[in-house]
C-alpha cells in the first residue's frame, strides 16, 4: 500500500514542482529576453553592424550605389601602437537644440567609416558646459560660436592664456605663434591691416583644425506685406533696431500704428546689467542706448550694412592719442532721457564707474582696461586706457548707457547689501529709463510687452547712409507689441492669422508662405556657426593630421541640404561667412564636392601618412 502511494505521490509532487519551477524559469527567460532586446537596440547605435551596413556604401548624398564593394576599415590603431579608445561627440539634447544633435548623430556615422568607435552623446546644457569648460573631460564636442560683428573670439578662444580652468579655450589649443599674432591683432586699429591679420589667423586655424567649422544656418523671416513695408535685411536679422525706426505702415500713417512682433521666449528681465538673453536685448536696445546684440547703438554703432564704426550719440570720430593711451569722445547735444532730462557726459562716466565698482560680469571686457574717465565738460569725455586694445572701439563705445539719476539710487541700495553685484545685476527694473526710440509702457507677464514711440528721440528724422541710399529714421511705428508664444508653430499660425506682423519661420513653411500673396520672405544669414571642437591635449586628437582626416569626412553639403533643407551655408572658417568683412573666404575647403568614397580615401591617405594602421589591415 505504501509503495503504491509513495510512487504516485512522489511522481505527482515532483511534477508539480517542476511545473512551478518551469513557470518561474519561463518568466525569467522572458524577462531576460526583454532586457537583451532592449540592450540590442541601444547597442545597435554604437556599432551599426559594420559588415552588413558598410558594403552598401551609398554615401547619403550620392544616389547611385557603386558596384565595387570598397574596403572596410575597422579598429583604428594609433601610431603609438595602441588601439584607439571609443570616443564620444558630446552635444546638446534634441530638446535644447535639435540641429546640433542631428549633426552629431550623422557626423558620428561618417567617422565610423574609418574604423573609429564613436558615438554621439546628448547632454543637458549645464552638464555639458561643466564637462567641456570646467572639467575638460571630453573627446570632441559639437557647439556653437559667434554673435559678434567684430570677432574678438579669434583671440581669446584659441590663445594659451585662456586654457586655465574657467578660460574660454576649452579645446586647449596651444600655438605660440598664433598667440603672439592674435594678441598683436587686438592692438591694430587700422581696419585693413586688422582684416589682413584676421585672415592670416583664420588660415592658421584652418590648417591646424583645433575645431572644425560646420555650417551656419540661414534664417527665414516672413512678414505681412499688408501691414508694414521697408524692412531692412541687416546683419543680425530683419526685425532689428533700424527696421523698427524706419519701416512704414502700408496704407498711410495714422496715430496708432502698432507693430506686433512674436517672440518665442519671454524676456527674463529689463535690467540691462543682468541678462545675456538675445530676446531680452531685442527689447532693451529699443529703450536704452547701447547694449550687446542686434546691433548695439551707443556712442558709436556699426553702419546698417557696411559694418563701419560710425558715431551715433557721439559727435565726430574718436580722438585717440597713441602716446598717452587716452581717447577723447564728444557727445551730441540735446539728447534727452525719456523723463525729459538731458543725457550728458556725466551719465556715461557714471556708467563706466558703476561697471568698474561693482565688477558687473557682463561688462568686464568693456571697462577692464579703462583706468579712469574724466568729463572735460558736459559733452566731452576723456578715457585713460591701461593698454591699447580694439575692445575700446568695439566694446566700450557700444556699451549701455545708464541714467545717473535713476541708477545712483540703485547703486546706493546695492552698496548696503552683502553682495552688491548680485543685487545690482538681479534687481528688477519695473520702469526702464533710457534714451532710445521707444519708451516702456507695460509688461503683462506671460503675454506681452508694450513699447511706445519716443517723440523726442534725438535721432528722429535724421538719416544714415545705407549703401547708396539714405535711411531716414522717421519713426512711424507708434507702438510695438511684443507677444510671447510657447511654440514656433503657434507663432507661425499667428502670423498667418494676422495676429503678428513678422516672425522667423522654419524651412518647412517656406512653400506655404511663398504661395500667400500677403507674405514676403526674407533670408538672412545667421552670425552663429556650429563647430566641432577637439580636446587638443588628448591623443589622438592632439594630432593635426588626425583632425584634418576627420575634417575630410564631414559632408557639410549633406548637413546643409538635408538637415537644413538648403537654408544654411557650409563654413570653412571659424568666422561665419555672413560676416563678410572679417571672414576669410580663402580658407582650405576640405572635401568640398567630394563623394563619401573620396572623402574616406582622402582621410585614409592622410592617416596612413601619419602612421596610423587598422586592425582589419594586419
Amino acid at each position: 500500500m505504501i509503495m503504491r502511494h509513495d510512487l504516485i505521490t512522489i511522481l505527482k509532487v515532483k511534477k508539480m514542482r517542476v511545473k512551478k519551477l518551469s513557470t518561474g524559469l519561463t518568466l525569467l527567460i522572458v524577462f531576460a529576453m526583454l532586457f537583451s532586446t532592449f540592450g540590442c537596440i541601444s547597442e545597435k547605435e554604437e556599432t551599426p553592424a559594420p559588415t552588413t551596413a558598410a558594403p552598401t556604401t551609398a554615401a547619403p548624398t550620392t544616389a547611385a550605389p557603386t558596384t565595387a564593394a570598397p574596403k572596410v576599415y575597422e579598429g583604428l590603431i594609433l601610431p603609438s601602437g595602441e588601439k584607439m579608445a571609443p570616443m564620444e561627440i558630446l552635444t546638446l539634447t534634441p530638446g535644447a537644440d535639435p540641429t546640433l544633435n542631428q549633426e552629431a548623430v550623422f557626423i558620428a556615422e561618417w567617422w565610423k567609416k574609418i574604423g573609429i568607435d564613436v558615438e554621439a552623446k546628448a547632454m543637458e546644457k549645464g552638464a555639458l558646459v561643466q564637462k567641456i569648460y570646467w572639467d575638460r573631460d571630453f573627446d570632441a564636442t559639437l557647439w556653437y560660436i559667434g554673435g559678434e560683428r567684430f570677432p574678438l573670439y579669434l583671440q581669446y578662444y584659441y590663445c594659451e592664456d585662456e586654457i586655465y580652468q574657467y578660460g574660454w579655450n576649452f579645446m586647449q589649443y596651444r600655438n605660440p605663434e598664433y598667440d603672439s599674432l592674435s594678441s598683436e591683432w587686438l592692438s591694430i586699429f587700422d581696419l585693413d591691416k586688422a582684416q589682413e591679420r584676421a585672415f592670416e589667423l583664420q588660415e592658421m586655424l584652418a590648417e591646424d583644425n583645433p575645431q572644425i567649422p560646420l555650417i551656419s544656418d540661414t534664417k527665414l523671416t516672413a512678414y505681412n506685406n499688408k501691414k508694414w513695408e521697408g524692412w531692412i535685411n541687416q546683419y543680425g536679422g530683419v526685425a532689428g533696431f533700424d527696421s523698427m525706426c524706419t519701416i512704414d505702415p502700408v496704407g498711410g500713417d495714422t496715430d496708432n500704428d502698432i507693430l506686433k512682433i512674436g517672440l518665442l521666449k519671454e524676456p527674463d528681465t529689463l535690467n540691462p546689467l543682468g541678462t545675456g538673453f538675445t530676446e531680452t536685448w531685442t527689447i532693451i536696445n529699443k529703450i536704452y542706448c547701447g547694449g550687446m546684440w542686434n546691433p548695439p547703438t551707443a556712442l558709436y554703432r556699426y553702419a546698417p550694412v557696411s559694418g563701419e564704426l560710425i558715431p551715433f550719440l557721439a559727435e565726430g570720430d574718436i580722438e585717440y592719442d597713441d602716446a598717452t593711451n587716452t581717447a577723447i569722445v564728444k557727445l551730441k547735444k540735446g539728447i534727452k532721457w525719456h523723463d525729459g532730462t538731458e543725457l550728458t557726459a556725466k551719465d556715461i562716466k557714471f556708467t563706466v564707474d558703476l561697471m568698474k565698482e561693482f565688477e558687473v560680469p557682463n561688462y568686464q571686457d568693456s571697462v577692464g582696461f579703462i583706468d579712469k574717465v574724466e568729463t572735460i565738460d558736459d559733452y566731452t569725455l576723456k578715457y585713460y586706457l591701461t593698454n591699447k586694445t580694439v575692445n575700446f572701439y568695439h566694446k566700450t563705445m557700444m556699451m549701455i548707457i545708464l541714467q545717473e539719476r535713476k541708477w545712483s539710487q540703485i547703486a546706493e541700495g546695492a552698496r548696503r547689501k552683502v553682495d552688491p553685484t548680485e543685487y545690482l545685476t538681479q534687481c528688477q527694473i519695473t520702469t526702464p529709463m533710457g534714451a532710445g526710440p521707444f519708451k516702456f509702457v507695460e509688461w503683462k507677464r506671460g503675454s506681452y510687452i508694450l513699447l511706445e514711440k519716443n517723440p523726442d528721440w534725438f535721432f528722429k528724422d535724421q538719416t544714415l547712409p545705407m549703401g547708396n541710399d539714405k535711411l531716414k529714421y522717421d519713426l512711424k511705428v507708434d507702438k510695438i507689441l511684443f507677444k510671447f508664444y510657447a511654440s514656433s508653430e503657434t507663432r507661425i499660425l499667428a502670423l498667418k492669422n494676422g495676429d503678428i506682423d513678422i516672425c522667423t519661420i522654419p524651412a518647412a513653411d517656406i512653400a506655404d508662405f511663398e504661395a500667400d500673396p500677403d507674405m514676403t520672405i526674407l533670408e538672412w544669414g545667421n552670425d552663429w556657426l556650429d563647430f566641432i571642437g577637439f580636446n587638443c591635449t588628448k591623443p589622438p586628437f592632439n594630432d593635426p593630421a588626425f583632425r584634418k582626416a576627420l575634417h575630410y569626412l564631414i559632408d557639410k553639403e549633406f548637413l546643409v541640404d538635408k538637415l537644413q533643407q538648403g537654408y544654411a551655408i557650409a563654413q570653412y572658417s571659424v568666422i561665419p561667412a555672413i560676416n563678410t568683412f572679417w571672414c576669410n573666404p580663402d580658407c582650405p575647403t576640405y572635401g568640398m564636392g567630394m563623394s563619401m568614397e573620396e572623402r574616406i580615401q582622402k582621410a585614409i591617405e592622410i592617416l596612413k601618412g601619419a602612421g596610423y594602421t587598422w586592425e582589419s589591415e594586419s
Binding site: 511534477k15 511545473k19 524577462f31 526583454l34 532586457f35 532586446t37 532592449f38 537596440i41 541601444s42 547605435e45 551599426p48 553592424a49 552588413t52 551596413a53 552598401t56 551609398a58 547619403p60 548624398t61 550620392t62 544616389a63 539634447t93 534634441p94 530638446g95 535644447a96 535639435p98 544633435n101 542631428q102 548623430v105 550623422f106 556615422e109 558615438e119 554621439a120 552623446k121 546628448a122 547632454m123 543637458e124 549645464g126 552638464a127 555639458l128 511654440s487 514656433s488 508653430e489 507661425i492 499660425l493 519661420i505 522654419p506 524651412a507 518647412a508 513653411d509 506655404d512 541640404d561 538635408k562 538637415l563 533643407q565
Partner: protein, 294 residues
C-alpha cells in the same frame, strides 16, 4: 497533467472570449506586437535608407507624403516615418512592459511586506509610498532627467518604475491587511510556517488578480508618461519613440502641414495605452465580483 495544462489555456481563452474589453484589447496588442516584430525586417532591407535614426533617403527632399517607398512618408531630413513608427512600437512595448513588471513587482512585495508585518515596517514603507506619491510625477521625471544630465531609456525606465509602485503597493497592502486576519493564515502560523513562506505561498497568490490588473494598467501609464516626456524633450535622444516622433514633428514645424507625420504616432500611443487599459478593465470586471451584473 497535460490535460490540466490545456485546461489552463482553455480557461485563458474563455476569459478572453468572454469579455469584449479583453477581446478588443488583446487584438490591438497583437497588431502592435506584429509591428514590433516586423520592425527589423522592414529596416534591414536597406538600413542606409530605412534606419529610423540614421537612414536618409537621398531621393527625398524635405518631408514628403506617403508613397510606395515610404508608406507613411518621410520626416524633414528624409528619414522613413514608417520605420520610425515600427521602432516606436518596440520601445513602447519594451518600456511599458518592463516598467509595469518592475513596478508591479516592487509594489506587490512592498504591499505584502507592509501589510503582513504591520507596525513600524508598515509605517515606514507606507510613508515612503506617500512621499513618492506626493512628488508630482512628470515634474519629478523632468527634474531627475535633468540631474542625470543625459537621458536614456534606462533612466526613464528606472524613474517610471520608481514612481509607479506606491499606488500598487497601497492597494496590495489593504488587500493583505484583510487577508492577514483570515484563518488560513493563522492556521499556517500555527503550523510553524515561516513569515517568508506565508507571504510567498499564502498571501501572494491571493493578491495575484489585483497584481494582474495593475500589471496591465501600469503599462498604460508608462506608455503615456514616456510619450509625454519624449514630447517635452526629455526622451532618449539616441532612439526613436512615438513621443519623440511627435516632438520632431512639433519642433520642425510640420504639425499642421504633415498629418501623415503627426497623426500616426499619437494614434499609436493612444491605441496601445487604450488596449492595455481595456484588458485591465476587463480583468477588473472579472476579478471584482461586486461589479458583476446584479
Amino acid at each position: 497533467m497535460k490535460k490540466k495544462k490545456w485546461k489552463l489555456i482553455r480557461q485563458i481563452w474563455d476569459l478572453i472570449r468572454g469579455s469584449t474589453f479583453i477581446k478588443l484589447g488583446v487584438s490591438i496588442i497583437i497588431i502592435f506586437g506584429i509591428m514590433a516584430v516586423f520592425s527589423p525586417i522592414w529596416v534591414n532591407r536597406n538600413p542606409e535608407i530605412y534606419d529610423p535614426i540614421i537612414g536618409v533617403d537621398p531621393d527625398v527632399h524635405g518631408s514628403e507624403g506617403p508613397s510606395l517607398k515610404h508608406p507613411l512618408g518621410t520626416d524633414y531630413i528624409g528619414k522613413d516615418l514608417f520605420s520610425q513608427l515600427l521602432r516606436g512600437s518596440q520601445i513602447a512595448f519594451i518600456l511599458g512592459i518592463m516598467v509595469s513588471v518592475l513596478s508591479t513587482t516592487i509594489g506587490t512585495i512592498v504591499g505584502l511586506v507592509a501589510g503582513y508585518y504591520g507596525r513600524i515596517v508598515d509605517i515606514i514603507l507606507m510613508r515612503l509610498a506617500d512621499i513618492i506619491l506626493t512628488l508630482p510625477r512628470l515634474p519629478l521625471l523632468i527634474v531627475i532627467s535633468g540631474i542625470f544630465g543625459t537621458q536614456s531609456n534606462w533612466i526613464i525606465l528606472l524613474i517610471l518604475s520608481f514612481t509607479f509602485w506606491p499606488t500598487i503597493s497601497r492597494v496590495i497592502r489593504s488587500q493583505t491587511l484583510s487577508l492577514r486576519e483570515r484563518p488560513f493564515i493563522e492556521s499556517a502560523k500555527v503550523s510553524g510556517v515561516g513569515n517568508r513562506r506565508i507571504i510567498l505561498r499564502h498571501l501572494a497568490p491571493n493578491v495575484l488578480p489585483i497584481t494582474f490588473y495593475y500589471l496591465t494598467v501600469t503599462v498604460t501609464g508608462a506608455i503615456l508618461v514616456e510619450a509625454g516626456l519624449s514630447f517635452l524633450g526629455f526622451g532618449d535622444p539616441s532612439n526613436m519613440s512615438w513621443g519623440m516622433m511627435l516632438k520632431w514633428c512639433f519642433t520642425t514645424g510640420y504639425v499642421f502641414k504633415a498629418p501623415y507625420w503627426m497623426i500616426p504616432p499619437g494614434l499609436c500611443i493612444s491605441a496601445l495605452a487604450f488596449s492595455f487599459y481595456l484588458i485591465g478593465v476587463g480583468l477588473e470586471e472579472i476579478v471584482n465580483p461586486r461589479l458583476k451584473k446584479r
